[in-house]
């Protein structure tokens, strides 16, 4: 019996969980600060190609996004031909001009010369469409562009 009586004495004190909320809050604040909410819902397939000679697009508020690619599986009813997405909807090529001008207008005046257009184009898109986009951008003097890519060897692209 003496063995059993001894046991309660050696019991470890419970680990205090009082600091758990603090730790969780710390994580929470990290993610709150690091979070960038996606403001466009993708309605086109958007698998970017690989490249390694790349630059960072840091100032989020100075970037205009143009997406292009085949409609994603939920939007099969509009066809399988690659399309341009501006904001949240499909748009014909001619609308790029007004879209870009409107975006430029919505930015503060001192930032306007530094705006960049990020082309997020799906890797299976034909260059004809990309060329059309570039032509429209040239027409409105939006000359700084960035082909958004994934980081990786460019030889991954051509097998």
């Amino acid at each position: 019996m003496s063995i059993f009586k001894k046991k309660p004495k050696t019991e470890l004190p419970a680990i205090s969980t009082a600091s758990l909320p603090d730790i969780v809050f710390m994580l929470l604040f990290f993610f709150m600060v690091a979070t960038v909410m996606r403001n466009d819902t993708l309605i086109v397939k958007n698998e970017l190609p690989y490249a390694d000679q790349i630059e960072k697009l840091d100032r989020k508020n100075m970037v205009i996004h143009i997406y292009a690619g085949k409609p994603s599986s939920r939007y099969k009813n509009v066809g399988t031909e690659a399309k341009i997405q501006l904001n949240d909807k499909f748009a014909p090529v001619q609308e790029i001009k007004s879209f870009v001008l409107e975006e430029i207008k919505s930015k503060p005046e001192e930032l306007r010369p530094f705006l960049t257009t990020a082309l997020k184009v799906d890797k299976d898109t034909k260059m004809g469409l990309v060329g059309d986009i570039k032509k429209e951008l040239r027409a409105v003097h939006m000359l700084k562009i960035n082909y958004t890519t994934k980081t990786g060897q460019a030889s991954n692209n051509i097998q």
Partner: protein, 205 residues
């Protein structure tokens, strides 16, 4: 007199609430910052001055056809060899007298480009070319320029060109930024990026 103590608030559920918020932000987070190839488009066609005459030997023709095959100077080439071919062309320095290139380390072949300032890479693609292949070719050509610039920057300033660019963007960099900018410009002038893109060709039938 019985002193009434305010009952202690149970903080045990605080962790749960915080976890709930944490999970929400974890799910909605996209920490990806965008990276990509930065390029500058030429101004609209009507504003371009009439082309100065470019000698054939100063032109490096890169062509991507409708089935994503790469042709350099009309000959088929593997993508892996493109960078080396572009470097050979840019760094050739075949010119003499006023067009002599003192820092070029190329073959000095009189049949290839005279000077990096004169050398133009012309990229032609078909409307049917895949975007993926186009980006791969762009990437290789830019890496050729970057390699040459890195080499010269290392030789002249002891820092690679890419490193200089990183320093320029770094807010915590201690050095003189205007000086750095000048150096970057100098290196860029040594190997100016002259990449011309013609209108995509329609598939020839």
């Amino acid at each position: 007199m019985a002193r009434r103590l305010a009952p202690e608030v149970n903080a045990g559920s605080m962790a749960d609430i915080a976890f709930l918020l944490l999970i929400f932000f974890l799910v909605s987070t996209t920490i990806e910052t965008d990276y990509g190839i930065s390029r500058r488009l030429p101004p609209p066609p009507e504003e371009i001055k009439p082309e100065v005459h470019v000698r054939e030997k100063n032109l490096f023709r890169v062509e991507l056809n409708q089935v994503n095959e790469l042709f350099v100077e009309k000959k088929p080439l593997r993508l892996k060899q493109l960078k080396a071919a572009a470097i050979d062309f840019l760094d050739n320095g075949g010119g003499v007298d006023t067009e002599y290139c003192s820092y070029c380390k190329g073959m000095r072949d009189p049949k290839s480009s005279d000077n990096p300032n004169k050398a133009i890479i012309s990229l032609i693609n078909s409307r049917e070319t895949n975007y993926e292949a186009y980006i791969a070719v762009q990437n290789e050509l830019i890496s050729a320029y970057n390699e040459l610039r890195n080499r010269e920057a290392l030789r002249v300033y002891g820092v690679s060109f890419t490193e200089m660019k990183v320093q320029l963007k770094d807010v915590n960099h201690s050095g003189d930024k205007s000086k750095l900018k000048e150096r970057i410009k100098e290196i860029q002038a040594m190997y100016p990026e002259k990449l011309s893109e013609a209108e995509p060709l329609t598939a020839e039938l």
